[in-house]
Assembly symmetry: C2
Homo-oligomer: 280 residues x 2
Amino acid sequence: MARTIEEVRRAVGAARREGRVVGLVPTLGALHAGHFSLIERAREECGLVVVSIFVNPTQFGPDEDFERYPRPFEKDVAGCEGHGVDAVFAPEAAEMYPEGFCTEVQVKGLGSVLEGEFRPAHFAGVCTVVLKLLQIVQPEVAYFGEKDYQQLVILEQMVRDLNVPVRIVGCATVREQDGMALSSRNAYLSAEERARGLAIAHGLRAAEAAWKSGERRAETLCALVRQELQGAELEIDYVAAAEPETLKPVEGACGKCVLLVAGRAGRTRLLDNVILSPEV
Amino acid sequence: MARTIEEVRRAVGAARREGRVVGLVPTLGALHAGHFSLIERAREECGLVVVSIFVNPTQFGPDEDFERYPRPFEKDVAGCEGHGVDAVFAPEAAEMYPEGFCTEVQVKGLGSVLEGEFRPAHFAGVCTVVLKLLQIVQPEVAYFGEKDYQQLVILEQMVRDLNVPVRIVGCATVREQDGMALSSRNAYLSAEERARGLAIAHGLRAAEAAWKSGERRAETLCALVRQELQGAELEIDYVAAAEPETLKPVEGACGKCVLLVAGRAGRTRLLDNVILSPEV
């Protein structure tokens, strides 16, 4: 396990000199089956798989859950070993943000809508730390979950705009049997909150069913989701239909869109989404 | 000569596979002896020297000289050939900023003082384009002139903060016989403006002489510079004493500092600086 930038670079450098393709799976830890699906995909495609575990302070707002974010570190490391990860990079905050640190990367526009409205500094924190990880590890491929769909779109834009020589791969959301999207934050939910939170997956499933039956109007699809959320008395932050590549709002009939939802059960924010396309 | 990112990457990739160390000299073109001194330094240290020529629109303000910035392109390319440059990268703006481009890199604090007060978006433009060039070319070393001292400090900070695997090398300012710092913008000056602009170099030289005689008070050193500028009726944007690494203002006696000057002769802004240390 690498605690320092120098250590992880040494491990990666050796593998690269042997001609192995390097894959990176950046995480905040609290690993679940969603993370492990990214790791498995990386193992299929790469000769060296690096998982970073870093609860990045700069992507949390002042009133958010940085302090209580779950940190089951030993279990995470064991899980990485069990899934054939070659190197875990788990730096301290001071290694990533030494005194005097003052650089920020922003994807303007994309970073201030939807989640960005509710978490104003969030994506700047995400972009900056992911760019750092990409520079430290220099992977050929980096893996992210579609569960955080806006994050995925923003990181793809950042990498394209800055010409970072890496391929970003988005992997399908992993769900519980009942449809609930896996998230490290699900650990915060009481049984009652979880039951209500499930309305998000139900709403998205209802919208997907309507799409399959031929419904194409963004407003109608969103209304179906909203209805489920309201039925469960979930606080809605947003239910939005957007173009999958640009996140521009979609109105009226559409040939392809992503439905994005953020709701709150108690103190816990829950995100989910579904991509609706002719192939669905 | 490479016009596209793909072309320059191909040229660099081939050299890298041969084990050659890659050096990058980013420029806006209008090359003069200052640029050529960077190129010569790169030639001494690297096996492949890439010069980029790109008048980057995003680092110019709306009322600045982007349109009239000199673009003696054929002459620049010939100069590069004459100085043994291996590859010139001269992209069009659309190659660097395709439609939808929206990412910005900022070095906060450092980018908003001194030049940043007079050119608010300047350093974000510089940082973003330099980071792009570093990702495109992936040089081991990149060369910048000390003439744009604040830019050099900011780029060093950016590269350190983002863990970009490159060494930034700052090279001494090249001057005319009479002391005038070389700058592509000197081409804008009438003979009369140039004569007045020379007061900046004279003022810095006077401050350096005082330093050598034992003067250590920042205020006194700045006053000596200011006096020369006022004598020449130059418009002063700032005369400042700062810590060389952090650009924090220096007051009172100091063991080491950089004196930074920006003045205007007619419509032309002129920058210069001198580093004062025990070794001077």
